[in-house]
């Protein structure tokens, strides 16, 4: 496209595009096109003037060539623009602000005094009514302050002051709404970028496919613990579906062929095939927005405290106003106290800090479902790990199958896989994967699982009772025995592996050794977590004691609990909380769910089961345990920032009041400074908490 260069500096270029009008979406197309050019660092496109500012690092010629090559039609096809940009939102609020300011100016200039006064009186009704409403509900809230300020001015016949006050309040409202909407939108677009994968049923096999590639009419397979990514209808199988993300009802609902299932719900048990009705589109973004709005109801207690503090300060402000009037008998000075209130600053700046921290954590592949969980992470002194999938690699492997009682090794693996495929746990996956690798098909065996408990599975295969699970489950609960004369062989099994025991009709048939290597960074991560102020790092596992203790020694945790049941994990967390500790739980499987919801903040490693992710308050997408350290630093930095904002707001505004009373600042100036400082601190709170060095250092 033809462009003229308006301003040219080394590494910065401002150009004018010679095109007709530029729409908002075209501006986005241009912006993301230029950003995709090699060497370009930042781009700003002004659609009104059809100008673009390009800051680049590479060669100038490359930028010029890219501009010359550009055309809207061509760039649109590249599909570079994300689904949601904040340009339209910014434009709407910019316009709102501009119109408000311009109306105010026009009114001041052209409207005759009597009409302006009448308008001021009419508009004041809203504020006075809200103030009275709050009083009626016996609340001394900010609305009372605003109503008083406006009402007093009107009563004094000082319509222009009343007008100014209302104008300021209106500007504040618009800015507040803008910043809030923008933070939510930023957060949502950052969070909705992650792509889910689903199992697509194609003829006789299943293919792991991107959700975006699924079209209406496709059939997808959902298993226990899996999230249903799209709306659709069940065509095969049965599942208990937890729809709490839609309805808030935590009891799962049974879904059979013909019933509808909805995106964002989780299959708690069972397996079904779904015929997709609606392809993935804006659904995910909307869901994320809804989730954020939901989580805002779970405000962090710091936010809550700010709101309460704001309202608690109101009586003092009112008292101060009355006192000032009594002492000085000067209405201007009295008004200057009223003009400054802490509340809107506190109510705006602190939620923004929290939202921005949530956005920043998304940048580190951590999604946080609400501010109060960040606060819990900052405060926590105890961190509990479930061993498998968190401290150890997410993908354990089968090292060895040791048959007992004259059974065939391959046959036993086939049987184990047949049972384990019903259970979404990383160890179960390892067994199924091992069978697949050895080409052992187990479809013909297909049997209905009788029950799945925390530590094992029981089923009927060819009229025989088959159980698989931990030592505790197999030998103590189910009273299985080791075949005669093979006790020595059993004792000789290497303790370096985790073990699964398979029994047929109450006799041990095989021991499957699972190799579950520690993550490389586990030891260092635990050390750093200690340094970050976690006094108590605990490891829990359903594994046997010997293996667990060996791992614990290597990693350097403070306490280890082996052979625990899911309820035990939850009970331990409850007990620690009762002792006054703040507890974080890190887990990945279905069996961690009770503990995750019991903890002050439950963290799921997102390679694990979908149900863990749904229940968890925080999800870490990365494979790296150091993300936990980043999360801790981030939340501590956030708490620091909240404290600082708090002190600054109270200090600054208090001095404004004092200056106002002393008569040094007139009411309008203090109102301006007050609003300016509020805006300033809100903007500051939108910036990142951790600088790049700090984040990459870990």
């Amino acid at each position: 496209m033809k462009c003229t260069i308006l301003h040219d500096l080394p590494r910065r270029l401002r150009v004018h595009l010679c095109c007709g009008r530029m729409t908002l979406s075209q501006a986005d197309v241009l912006e993301y096109y230029l950003l995709s050019v090699a060497g370009v660092k930042s781009v700003k496109v002004y659609d009104r003037t059809r100008d673009a500012v390009v800051v680049y690092d590479g060669a100038r010629a490359g930028v010029i060539r890219a501009l010359a090559d550009f055309s809207f039609a061509k760039a649109e096809k590249l599909d570079l623009v994300p689904e949601h940009t904040s340009r339209a939102l910014n434009r709407a609020f910019e316009d709102k602000l501009a119109v408000t300011v311009m109306c105010r100016c026009a009114c001041k200039l052209f409207l005759p005094m009597p009409i302006a006064s009448a308008l001021a009186v009419i508009r004041s009704v809203k504020y006075i009514r809200e103030g009275l409403c709050a009083l009626w509900h016996r609340q001394l809230s900010v609305a009372v302050l605003d109503g008083t300020a406006v009402g007093v001015s009107i009563l004094r016949g000082d319509y222009s002051t009343a007008g100014s006050v209302m104008f300021m309040l209106r500007l504040g409202e618009i800015l507040e709404e803008w910043t809030h909407k923008k933070s939510v939108a930023d957060l949502a677009s950052a969070m909705s970028l992650g792509v889910d994968k689903v199992w697509l049923q194609a003829e006789d096999t299943e293919v792991l496919t991107d959700v975006n590639a699924i079209r209406p009419g496709d059939r997808i397979v959902i298993r226990t613990g899996g999230m249903i990514p799209l709306d659709g209808k069940v065509v095969e199988g049965e599942a208990m579906v937890n729809q709490s993300s839609l309805t808030g009802e935590s009891m799962p609902v049974a879904k059979g062929p013909g019933s509808f299932v909805y995106a964002g719900t989780v299959a708690e048990e069972g397996q079904c095939v779904i015929c997709v009705e609606k392809a993935s589109g804006s659904g995910r973004y909307d869901r994320v927005v809804r989730m954020i709005e939901e989580s805002e109801k779970l405000k962090s207690t710091a936010e809550d405290k700010a709101a309460r503090m704001a309202d608690r300060l109101v009586p003092y402000t009112l008292g101060g106003t009355v006192l000032t009037y009594l002492v000085t008998r000067n209405v201007t000075k009295m008004l200057s106290v009223l003009m400054v209130d802490f509340s809107c600053a506190l109510k705006l700046a602190i939620p923004i800090a929290v939202l921005s921290a949530m956005r920043e954590s998304t940048g580190h592949h951590i999604s946080v479902k609400g501010g109060r969980f960040l606060e819990a992470v900052a405060k926590a002194d105890t961190i509990v790990f479930d061993k498998t999938g968190t401290l150890t690699c997410a993908t354990p492997t089968v090292a060895e199958v040791i048959p007992f009682g004259g059974q065939q090794e391959a046959e036993m693996l086939r049987l184990a896989a047949c049972l384990e495929e019903h259970y979404p746990h990383s160890i179960a996956n390892a067994v199924v994967e091992a069978a697949r690798q050895r080409g052992l098909s187990h479809a013909e065996y297909h049997s209905q699982v009788q029950y799945v408990v925390a530590h094992g599975i029981s089923s009927m295969v060819e009229e025989k009772k088959v159980i698989i699970g931990s030592a505790h489950f197999v030998f103590e609960d189910e009273l299985c025995r080791i075949p005669e004369g093979e006790q020595d062989k059993f004792d000789a099994i290497s303790p370096a592996y985790s073990h699964l025991y398979l029994c047929i009709d109450g006799v041990l048939a095989a021991v499957i050794c699972i190799h579950d290597p520690l993550r490389r960074e586990a030891r260092d991560a635990v050390k750093t977590l200690h340094a970050c102020g976690f006094a108590n790092v605990v490891m829990m596992t359903g594994d046997n004691r010997r293996t667990a203790e060996a791992v614990a020694r290597t990693v350097g945790v403070d306490a280890v609990y082996a052979e625990v049941l899911p309820e035990d994990k939850a009970a331990f967390i409850r007990a620690e909380k009762a002792k006054g500790h703040t507890v974080i739980m890190v887990g990945d499987g279905v069996n961690d769910s009770p503990a995750l919801s019991e903890a002050d903040a439950g963290i799921a490693i997102s390679t694990g089961a979908a149900i863990a992710r749904e229940i968890a308050d925080i999800t870490i997408a990365s494979e790296n345990l150091f993300e936990l350290v980043i999360l801790r630093r981030l939340s501590q930095a956030l708490m620091g920032r909240i404290q600082d904002s708090y002190r600054f707001i109270v200090g600054f505004n208090l001095s404004l009041i004092v200056l106002g009373v002393a008569g040094i600042l007139p009411p309008t100036v203090s109102a301006l400074l007050h609003n300016g400082s509020t805006l300033g601190i809100s903007l500051k709170n939108m910036t990142d908490l951790l600088d790049e060095g700090e984040a990459s250092q870990t």
Partner: protein, 93 residues
Amino acid sequence: MDMKKIGLFAAGVLFGTAGIKVLSSKDAKKAYAQTTAAALRAKDSVMTTVTAVRESADDIYAEAQAINERRAQAEAEAVVEDTSGEAEESKAE
């Protein structure tokens, strides 16, 4: 006095019938639309001017930064480096 009252009454009747008609007539609505459109255009032109001013201000700021960078560079180039090999402990930079 009487005449004034009658006059006011007549004016009121006239406004209540013909006046309202005129104010809500199709032509009047067109006039309102035109006025509103003019106001919106005025707003847009103000916003465009504001944008242009902002761009120019950004240009000036960027240019100022470039000037300072050049100065700093020139100053750095004006220093003759010490290559004697006698390292000064205090000014180890």
